[in-house]
């Protein structure tokens, strides 16, 4: 193979990557916020003693976890408008779709964190006269959150990767920006390689942070 690499093309079109990168960041932050806001109550409902609260939450979580994110995205983009007449622009669609998707995983992390706290803690809290909500707030959640932080960071890393799915519905995120640029300058090797490295440089430290957090909290509790 005697391919002539021209990575200079990245520097020449830096603004393309900047624009795509900013879109990727916004989609990541928007869907992460949505996932947290929906995921926490969903996780509480999922762990509820009452069937009426637990079953819908369980159904939602299992359905989302049992279907591919890409299918969820195209369904929301193409089918939802046909069914409801509600037409969402691509960026709103991708934030909504990834947010709804990640919410199911956040809910499971949340529930697992609460379950991981020893049952004796609840007993001890009750025995000094605390009510259920007070025991959750003062005793269970502070311990559960420490167990949840590492998987939450991991989930955030997968969420960044999920944003590239936006390219199929023409969201101008990094992958779509790269595709557009390739169509113009025809340098797929350089551009895709750079793209992969750029994602790695961002995501790998996040994964390391998650592992560090896991060790840190394991020592403290």
């Amino acid at each position: 193979m005697s391919y002539q690499w021209h990575f200079g093309v990245i520097g020449d079109y830096w603004f393309v990557f900047l624009r795509g990168g900013l879109a990727t960041i916004w989609i990541t932050l928007g869907s992460a916020a949505l996932a947290l806001v929906l995921g926490l109550p969903l996780g509480l409902l999922r762990g509820s003693q009452r069937r009426l609260l637990r079953l819908p939450a369980t159904a939602y979580i299992e359905f989302v976890r049992g279907t591919p994110a890409l299918v969820q995205i195209v369904w929301i983009y193409y089918c939802l408008p046909l069914l409801t007449g509600l037409r969402l622009d691509p960026v709103t669609t991708i934030v909504l779709a990834i947010g709804l998707h990640a919410a199911a995983f956040v809910a499971e992390i949340f529930r697992a964190g609460v379950n991981a706290v020893d049952r004796g803690q609840l007993m001890a809290a009750y025995s000094i006269g605390m009510g259920h909500l007070q025991a959750l707030r003062r005793i269970i959640l502070p311990q559960a959150v420490r167990k949840m932080i590492p998987p939450f960071i991991n989930e955030f890393a997968s969420l960044i990767k999920l944003t590239t799915l936006g390219s199929v519905i023409a969201v101008y995120e990094l992958l779509h920006a790269a595709n557009g640029l390739i169509a113009t300058v025809y340098r797929p090797l350089e551009i895709y390689t750079f793209l992969a490295l750029a994602f790695f440089v961002v995501i790998y430290p996040i994964i390391c942070l998650s592992q560090w957090a896991e060790r840190y909290f394991a020592r403290r509790i």
Binding site: M123, M130, Q143
Partner: protein, 260 residues
Amino acid sequence: MTGQPPSEPVLRVEQLRKSYGRLDVLRGIDFSVAAHERVVVIGPSGSGKSTLLKCLNFLEPYEGGRVVFDGELVGWVERGGRRVRAPEKTIKRMRQRIGMVFQNFNLFPHMTILENVVEGPIQVLRQPRAEAVAIADELLRKVGLTDKRDAYPSTLSGGQQQRAAIARALAMRPRLMLFDEPTSSLDPELVGEVLEVMKALAIEGMTMICVTHEMSFARDVASRVIFMDEGMIVEEGPPETVFTAPQQERTRAFLARVIH
């Protein structure tokens, strides 16, 4: 708090029944505890001792019979001839006056020892922080943990953790203390320091019910020993009688197994 006439016991248990599905764990328990009494409950594993203790402060709801603490029915209210769970406020108020010490300590691992002890007084009793800390420091001195007040539970030995757990329960100024096998998960050399703290409490006149396998503690401290087997009280009496002249064959067999 001590508005009851002297004849009224601190705790009265009548025909207490509890089952898990088809398994009857408690099959009609009757006993009462007067102020300053030290009742030690002994018996083989699975005899229902721990469940009994947890029914007394309604950590486990019981189905039949009555538990009356300080003249008030524990956990239930009668409404139209039916029993419904008492309002959370009532149950919380009852639990504030019953201290409980667990086999596995159950200290709050995200809090220092001092924070563990002041948590109830500040969050539940709404004591001012300075007052709660002063009381906690006094209690920690009493259980010999002054130098550990700012340490986290995970850095303490089992014996130290259990002494801290006793201080946490005492900080609520309970009228009755429940000990659920407080030394069973301790290394043998750490059992003594916990029993010393409990003995000191007994001497001060604390009303207590203790489930334990420490027969020497039962003999030295108990004002009354209850022997349980298969969810029932088999024998009950002062320690000198139960240990030296047990009336029931089952008591004799159990004591022969545990006392060497």
